[in-house]
Symmetry: C2
Subunit: 166 residues, 2 copies
Amino acid sequence: MSPPPLTPDLKSEVDQVLEAVIYLYTESRRITKELARRAELTGPQLTVLKLLEQLGDLSLSGLSERIRAQNSTVTGIIDRMEREGLVVRERSQEDRRVVFIRLTPKGRELAKDIPVEPMEIFRSALESLSAEEMRTLLRIMTKLAKRVRQIVRRDVGAPDTRDEEK
Amino acid sequence: MSPPPLTPDLKSEVDQVLEAVIYLYTESRRITKELARRAELTGPQLTVLKLLEQLGDLSLSGLSERIRAQNSTVTGIIDRMEREGLVVRERSQEDRRVVFIRLTPKGRELAKDIPVEPMEIFRSALESLSAEEMRTLLRIMTKLAKRVRQIVRRDVGAPDTRDEEK
DNA sequence: CCCTGATATTTCGCATGCGAAAGATTCGCG
DNA sequence: CGCGAATCTTTCGCATGCGAAATATCAGGG
């Protein structure tokens, strides 16, 4: 648990990286929100709309997995989108527990009119990096993510930290 | 505006980096939340508690700047913390528009009992990188953040994208 | 068939989180 | 001084976002 000896400079670099990650994440959300606002939508609603356009019908669980939210959260989002006539719920025939979410013509029309995918701006910023930088960034970020996962299991020990790779 | 020609491999690397950023951010929030839960707090409340412990009294605006939230959001958080007796509001003498948030003895006690700072785990993961990697990561992330800022100003054209560096 | 456990969704209560508008106070300038 | 702009905080309405409990359905064993 004893931290490795770090020079003050390095310590502050840690904070700067942290700042950058937080900035990039919040900014990408803000951008999605701004684009959504122009179509009278909210950020998550735009995300769902483009997801359904690209992938076709999805179950509510499938949707919540995709956007990394709980089922109960997505239920509310779909409620409001259904109220606006953008999607419809349709119970599965094979398994009547499952509800598929489907775009209405109105929803599909709206999705078509929004040219940019959510995150597109973030992506284009990433693409301004050189191939070399991109590769390096990916390598380090992957290493970081792996390291965080390790520490989480050992220290925080959340009851069952969604063990997807078991 | 035309994106540089990307190989499919590079394109998928973009998505992987995006995934990693999102993972790191959401995971760090989840960790904070888990730590907070043990002290009967919420994530943002823990963040505020530790912030006040480290920096002393802060105005509500100062606080909201620190945690990158709107004033109206922080007002609610402070309301609930005040209800729990963790902080008190105190009007500034010099400028009676300003409200300072101050830890109560109970709040200070609680803060002391929570050894880890929010984000600590994330930090220790960052510190597992070599100095070389850290420097590279910081350089690329900074470049990325700058690039995003540029694109935002030009494309999305948010009314006044909080120009802090003007 | 009936019971039990598992799975998918919804409901509920609560805590962010935001933006617009309102309220209080201060500041600048004539 | 006095008035309007600027600043700080709160209020309000709404949309996430979560976890626990309720509901509905399916799958399997007896």
